[in-house]
Symmetry: C2
Subunit: 387 residues, 2 copies
Amino acid sequence: MFNFEFYNPTKILFGKGQIASIAKEVPADARVLLTAGGGSIKANGVYQQVIDALAGRTIIEFWGIEPNPEYATLMKAVELGRKEKIDLILAVGGGSVLDGSKFIAAAIPFDGEPWDILNKGAAVNTATPLASILTLPATGSESNTFAVISRRETGEKLAFGSVHVYPKFAVLDPETTFSLPPRQVANGVVDAFCHVCEQYMTFPADAHIQDRFAESILKTLIEVGPRTLANPTNYDDRATFVWSATLALNGLIGAGVPQDWATHMIGHELTALYNIDHARTLAVVMPHLFRVQSAQKEAKLLQYAERIWGVTSGAPAERIEAAIAKTEEFFESMGLPTRLAKYDNIQDGTPALVAEKLQSRGFAKLGEKGEVGPEQVVEILTRSLAA
Amino acid sequence: MFNFEFYNPTKILFGKGQIASIAKEVPADARVLLTAGGGSIKANGVYQQVIDALAGRTIIEFWGIEPNPEYATLMKAVELGRKEKIDLILAVGGGSVLDGSKFIAAAIPFDGEPWDILNKGAAVNTATPLASILTLPATGSESNTFAVISRRETGEKLAFGSVHVYPKFAVLDPETTFSLPPRQVANGVVDAFCHVCEQYMTFPADAHIQDRFAESILKTLIEVGPRTLANPTNYDDRATFVWSATLALNGLIGAGVPQDWATHMIGHELTALYNIDHARTLAVVMPHLFRVQSAQKEAKLLQYAERIWGVTSGAPAERIEAAIAKTEEFFESMGLPTRLAKYDNIQDGTPALVAEKLQSRGFAKLGEKGEVGPEQVVEILTRSLAA
């Protein structure tokens, strides 16, 4: 096991009716910047529950944080937050609203050009307090330090992380997710699954408990994912999915183990180029990355084959291919294509273009051992473009 | 899944040489009350590492916190802490030093008679900041809100809990545990195992991810427990055990599920009466409690039989008995007797005495459904007294 630091101070308020309990978390005289995306939180009643719970506080609303949140949009919220001297940002929505709000939280007190936080890795030494009401389970953003922000004019999708943007609290009421479009539920399940794989499918590090926790989440997502997609109002399955998605990326299973994240880096470029849903980029990259990196990941792929899919017979290469094929079947069963070829308008030369873009950003050696270079990126995407 | 609140702000500093990293956690001008038990931390070098890391701070030392920490001892530390106007309590040791230090932390600023915290459940509204260097993995106390304190003159062993006594940080360096006596390692493994069972062996609550996490810890303890007992200086096995013990009782696997804790309540009385090691009281109570409560716990016992021990054939009652027998074999293999009859000087009438003591403290209905009453306590202990 590697040395690690694990620190996650987000208070999770989980379950039916928990939005009301934010009344005890937010001071009565607080000035709250409520950040949101489109109008779905008005349609499903979440907005009204939040307003009711915050009765008496000053609420300043900022709407319009889009999927793959845009720097330009967020900077308007930064300006508003500074002008209104807010005490707390309350992000109400899914991962994009949350990621965007983390950037707003870091940028409000930032001295200098906030783009530097993303582009130059400028240190975030403080942040406006942030909290969240999560309405779309997937990203784990409600209980971690990370955010991914886009800048359309330059085709960039960049990440930052800071302990200062841990949400103070996060409300997860599974009932608020019942009305999500099936596509977003399916994306969420696959996103969470891939988050686990990024922290698991590397090389053995004698981290038995982390391995088993990771496998627990994978097995649970395979079990409840299709069920919660088919029966969106079954509370227990939805609750299990919601909590699994948080646990997939709250730092716990990644503590003390090697991590990959090459699939995410490649996927971000596909989203920036073609606006493909984040989870769908993972589904078209990850299985092929497993194949291309099967020698490096052999021991863990075999463990995954056995413990997750019950594949124990055949030569190692056959077991690995069987496990990858089952992974693809699972993604496809959730409605996510596992071939980039299934998307329209993919330009010729996309594999080389993505490899080049990653190189130009200084990401020429991805993966747990830096062995996913331009050549491997091209091979992964070329395979995914094959029918 | 039940509604829950999960909040655990303890920063875990895990791994080789991590004691040195407390230098960045403790302000340079801090007045630190270092609390400890006997001299083992001097013998194994931990004390010197702590002193080196805290160079420049004012350190006030309080030694002599005993196993099953005594109220009278702790009150001396409270007095010292108040007089010295300390900023931080740094508990260096195992669960007893930590539990005792939690009480010291709560008692220093407490307005009134601190015994009321234990005896009357008086509210703990604040506490002196606390942190820990853990040298004995077992109790999970390094990353939770609980403490158990004894008072010899009245034969009491009472618990309290407060979010204010969460350690700010906890150092877990597995190497500092290499020199532990085998008995303490064995006790720690069984203690952690039983902590998981108290949160798992109840009734199904559609909490699939919590179940699998609990099972992950159980399987891992069964795997590494005997190995780390046999080879105490194997780093990876010891590290896995240490991290498993923390995860067994940091609130995570108990979030959103029913909990039992009857075994602990009965066990505390045995320790108070006969000074039997805490873990050993759990080993002599838990298997018999499973038998006596096998109807109430049937579904989870069958799940446990299958997932932990691979027992899938036979009638339900046979599978349950096989799983309980395997649990006993595991405890015995670690050197812990599973029969109270194996201990000397157990007075006649002990089962009734324990039942009476629990009743007199207001604990007449224990367990996840309050179905472990005096009659069941007598039956459990009578079985454990049978050869």
